[in-house]
């Protein structure tokens, strides 16, 4: 692939911003519109842009596909794990109120953790899908 200077420069400029925006959407999700789904997709968009511009091999060096599989599983486990912790604290499944000192603090922490799990899984799964299609028939 012939490197294209404009694409390289623009991508290098944009990718940090996209990731920053993804993190904003992720962690601001409990005050305004946002959350794990959207953040995960935006985050994976940054990496997909990277692999479109710099090639699949370069992208796979940043995040090896084996990691992605573990990350995708990890996200689900974080989400379900929060539920199990609330169960162990004596409440109902995903009853966040028990997680913090006050009800509001608990709800806050709970939704943050669950959305983190969602975000990790969504980002990882989007990348797995992309790599699976893009890498097919390459070797």
């Amino acid at each position: 692939m012939k490197p294209n200077l404009i694409l390289h420069v623009v991508a290098k400029f944009l990718i940090p911003l996209i990731i920053l925006f993804a993190l904003y959407v992720q962690f601001h999700g409990d005050f305004g519109p946002g959350g794990g789904f959207q953040a995960g997709v935006i985050f994976s968009a940054a990496l997909i842009l990277y692999s479109l511009v710099f090639g699949l091999d370069a992208a796979e060096q940043i995040i090896p596909p084996q990691w992605l599989r573990i990350l995708a599983a990890l996200g689900v486990v974080i989400y379900a794990g929060v539920g199990v912790i609330t169960l162990l604290l004596g409440g109902n499944y995903l009853d966040y109120s028990l997680l913090g000192s006050s009800q509001i603090a608990g709800q806050h922490l709970g939704i943050l953790l669950v959305e983190l799990g969602v975000g990790i899984t969504v980002a990882a799964v989007m990348l797995i899908i992309f790599f699976a299609f893009a890498g097919r028939g390459r070797t």
């Binding site: 305004g32 519109p33 789904f37 899908i129 699976a132 299609f133 097919r136 028939g137």
Partner: protein, 118 residues
């Protein structure tokens, strides 16, 4: 006249729904079927979201001076349905890739000629 203009969102939904369903049924190309399926699903997303709108209502975030909010629940439901739709599309496309690899074609009638399976 009011009946048509007042329910314009439903007309859009019905149009998209029929376009999508017709595409799924009438096209022989497996990818076009998936596109039809997506249009069909999106029409349902529209149905839900337009239903949740309250005229003059603000986005459902608590703020001072805002009395009327839109119903956020349909949006949340559709967020889930969109995720389901993405998963379905990804899986369908993956199947089409593998069908192409083992049959060498993605036309329904050609596949049928090969081993009567579609």
């Amino acid at each position: 006249m009011d009946f048509f203009v007042g329910h314009y969102n439903y007309w859009v939904v019905i149009f998209l729904m029929l376009v999508g369903l017709y595409t799924v049924i009438s096209r022989g190309n497996l990818i076009k079927k998936i596109i039809g399926l997506n249009i069909f699903q999106v029409s349902v997303f529209f149905l839900y979201i337009s239903m949740g709108t309250v005229e003059g209502g603000a986005a459902p975030i608590i703020a001072e001076g805002v009395k009327l909010y839109s119903n956020p629940l349909p949006h949340v439901l559709i967020l889930t349905a969109i995720v389901v739709g993405v998963a379905t599309t990804a899986l369908a496309l993956a199947l089409v890739v593998r069908i192409k690899e083992s049959y060498g074609t993605i036309e329904e009638d050609e596949i049928h000629d090969l081993d009567h399976s579609l």
